[in-house]
Symmetry: C2
Subunit: 117 residues, 2 copies
DNA sequence: CTTCTATATAGCTTCTGTGCTATATAAATT
DNA sequence: AATTTATATAGCACAGAAGCTATATAGAAG
């Protein structure tokens, strides 16, 4: 759980998430992927490299092409982290119920309960 | 699903993920949270602000303190995105089986099958 | 009303990321 | 061998992140 930095920052870019989405429909070469993006080839190449470094995609060498596909376990660290957070959230909820019950009508100032989806 | 940028970049920082982990054990004020981090108060304050902006934490006003807690739906967008990716990955696997079968022994050059966990 | 405590804002510096153009490499094609 | 195609690397410019110190604000406490 040490490359969460890399994974999260890789995913923090819309171009890169778009590439992952494209790869969801299967393997594609860099040029094929780049076609949908209004960006220079070198810049795009960089994005691909970042995704690869983050372990989110895999590549083969096929002549002059480098077909990319989703890395099967690319999101493993992320999944693990999410699971932890989910559990924490649930625990918090459980506790919150208890706290609310215990507090009764004391209600000091804790009423800003936005839920911003 | 438009603030994924914000959420992912908020999570791309270890200090901020640590704060979320701290909040997993329940509400805490900024100073309480800051105690575990070797960083100036203003810098830390900034991190808290980023988490709030990303919708990952909620805060109350309690006198001079601003207790923070995990936002119940803070990870909703993330969960949704993950669900999509999971499905894509599964689909890819299914397809891969099919493709491999269909290709038979045609095997052009696609044999570097690293799985880098 | 002065002071202390908790937190925020301003302003600055430094580092990193992203994009671009120009160029390199390497396989495919002619 | 020369050219074209796919991709990578170098080097630069600019925008934004993250850290710091100094200062502001706003309740609490005296």
């Amino acid at each position: 759980m040490r490359d969460l930095n890399t994974v999260f920052s890789a995913l923090a870019d819309p171009t890169r998430r778009a590439v992952l989405a494209q790869l969801a429909s299967g393997e594609a070469s860099v040029m094929e992927l780049a076609a949908s993006h209004k960006m220079s080839q070198p810049s795009f190449s960089r994005h691909i490299h970042v995704l690869e470094e983050a372990g989110l995609i895999l590549r083969r060498v096929e002549g002059t092409r480098r077909p990319c596909r989703l890395a099967p376990n690319g999101l493993a660290a992320l999944e693990q982290w999410m699971a932890l957070m989910r559990r924490a959230l649930e625990a918090n909820y459980g506790r919150l119920d208890g706290v609310l019950a215990a507090m009764g009508a004391e209600a000091k100032g804790n009423d800003n309960d936005q839920d911003d989806t």
